[in-house]
Amino acid sequence: MNVPALQLTDVRKSFGQTVIINGVNLIVPRGERHAIIGPNGAGKSTLFNLASARFPVTSGDITLKGESVTDLKPHQINRLGLSRSFQLTNIFTNLSVFENVRCSVLWSLNYKYSFWRRLAALRDANEQAHRVIDAIGLAHRSDTVAGILSYAEQRALEIGITIAGGADVILLDEPTAGMSKSETGDAVALIRRVTEGKTLIMVEHDMSVVFDLADRISVLVYGEIIATGTPAEIRASAAVQEAYLGTTFAEGSHD
């Protein structure tokens, strides 16, 4: 039987009295590209934070590739093969682009906390870092300090850091946020390239991106998933249209 990449079972999250996630059930099979959409404040980022152990769940279960990860810490989940990007760019600001990516591959190549090996001599780490940098199109900025990159470049680096370690379950939190139309197109092509053969779960507001990339879509409203299905099914769903009152799907709107 095919073990799903990520499974959320009756996951709930409250902050004090406020219920943000109200019993979410979600199964994402291996290799699927899954998008989570929903109105603002629906709890999409919170759901991501729960899945990546940034916040602990109030109740419910999360399994990654069959293993329960509900009580693990973020670094433990990452080591099991789940990696995520952030909506607000979260990079190592004082390190160069190359160093940023190299840091992301070190653990996956088993270098751990070693202080007896020279970084420059780690052939595999350096080669992998260069490959990823080429893939995200930042080879010409390889030695630039990450803090001074342009916004789109930083977003590309963000994605690079996320996939560099070879995780096979990738969570991208609004990867095209704040991008212009052309930048979005580049980003989508990049995402498609680098998540080939992996499981991708994406939170997005930009419907054109969603319909372009996603195999299946879940719609999150007030902390509950009201519909899951293929893009066509979601487009046709009355419940979804009701939740998105005032938003049109057909053309694909840019938020």
Binding site: L95, E99, C103, S114, F115
Partner: protein
């Protein structure tokens, strides 16, 4: 694009390290007076200590107010080992700093585990608490810490080997210099390892470090242990140098001094703390020899650096080097010349005020000499003059400083403009 493995030592690197080694070897031959040798020993020890401190602050982002704990632990361990070995003569004296290092390492394991559970401000307070804990505890166990008098030892044990018994100051200098060189090398090498780089990553963004598979607490813990190791070595060398260790080496003052050295030197550059150690040590001797208010000047100097040059001297040097490389250094010179007089006036006035205040508060017998002029603190005139001088200088400074900012603005625009082309 495959990554070629660069050689361990490029020509430029080899030259730099070689020059450093040469400098350390030749210096005592040039400055061969007794007090100069002692000073060089002290500076070398402080270099190791402040570099070890920067492993925490500059490299891992951990601000510690209690780093002296590891220095002190290393110092006490070494002096006891010295006394022990003196009776049994089992180990050569030259290896003993390693004992200090191991003691510091163990201290790092013990205290580091508790300290690194939290980061940032909480870590700073915990480090303060642990430093105070050690300092207070040291008075409770006189057998270990020697009470008020401390523990003393004799570094001349056994027969001299090739005439070397580490008795004379010059001999102990070369031992300290050798250890210093090795430690600088080791600490630099550490910055080029996975742990060293991940420490930087944890400093910049601990959350991101988690999401690339690293536990920030472990990274901090390991850096703490290694920093404790090197601080312990520095303590051990200090024990050998002075043949005595007191509880002061664990105390708040020592922790404060190393913080000041690293910060003033520049925490963002590996060699920053080296500059800081040299500068502060020299200043301490120079200023303390001239005025009793030297602690006040130090405090003021430190605060000024925090507010106006938080990157330290190393960052100022780096900034000017950029100008030099672009051939634009001369452009800021006129502005600098303009602020020199106001600075001197303010300085003169402030120093006069401080010295007079000190004289008055301490009711000293000897008359006050400020810049060679004898001053009667009980009459009003000198006070008014000093006050006027300071005020005048500050006003002129306020008027002339914008030229410096403006010159820098122009120069930087020029540089960036060229880069963009």
């Amino acid at each position: 694009m495959s990554a070629l493995v660069p050689p361990l030592l490029s020509r430029r690197r080899f030259f730099l390290w070689g020059a450093l080694a040469l400098l350390m070897i030749v210096l005592p031959l040039v400055f061969d007076k007794g007090y100069a040798l002692s000073l060089m020993c002290q500076i070398s020890i402080m270099i190791i200590f402040s570099l070890s401190y920067n492993m925490l602050l500059g490299q891992t982002g951990l601000l510690s107010f209690g780093h002296a704990a590891y220095f002190g632990i290393g110092a006490f361990a070494t002096i006891h080992a010295l006394n022990f070995v003196g009776k049994a003569a089992a180990l050569p004296v030259s290896i003993l700093p390693l004992v200090g290092g191991l003691a510091g390492l163990l201290g790092g394991v013990l205290f580091g585990y508790v300290s690194t559970k939290r980061a940032g401000t909480t870590f700073a307070m915990i480090s303060l608490g642990i430093g105070e804990l050690m300092a207070s505890a040291s008075l409770m166990f006189p057998v270990v810490f020697g009470g008020e008098a401390g523990v003393s030892g004799n570094r001349v044990i056994g027969k001299a080997v090739f005439g070397v018994n580490f008795g004379p100051q010059i001999q102990i200098y070369y031992l300290i210099a050798a250890w210093t060189f090795l430690c600088i090398l080791a600490m630099y090498a550490l910055t080029q390892t996975p742990l060293g780089r991940m420490a930087n990553a944890v400093r910049d963004n601990p959350e991101r470090a988690q999401f690339v598979g690293y536990d920030p607490q472990w990274v901090r813990f390991m850096m703490m242990i290694l920093a404790g190791f090197f601080a312990g070595i520095a303590g051990g060398l200090s024990a050998l140098n002075y043949e005595m260790v007191t509880a002061e080496s664990l105390g708040g003052w020592t922790s404060g001094v190393v913080l000041m050295m690293a910060f003033v030197g520049g925490i963002g550059f590996f060699y920053g703390p080296i500059i800081g150690a040299v500068l502060i040590s020299l200043l301490a001797i120079a200023v303390a020899g001239v005025t009793k208010a030297w602690l006040f000047y130090f405090g003021l100097f430190f605060l000024t650096m925090v507010l106006y040059a938080p990157g330290g001297i190393a960052s100022l040097l780096a900034m000017h080097k950029r100008l030099w490389n672009a051939g634009l250094l001369l452009m800021v010179m006129p502005a600098y010349a303009r602020v020199t007089i106001p600075l001197l006036l303010t300085f003169a006035g402030l120093v006069s005020l401080v010295e007079m205040a000190y004289q008055q508060a301490e009711v000293l017998e000897t008359p006050l000499l400020v810049f060679g002029a004898s001053i009667d603190v009980n009459s009003l005139a000198p006070w008014l003059i000093a006050l006027a001088l300071t005020a005048f200088g500050l006003v002129l400074l306020k008027l002339s400083w914008p030229r410096v900012s403006e010159a820098w603005r122009q120069v930087l625009a020029g540089i960036n403009g060229e880069v963009a082309r």
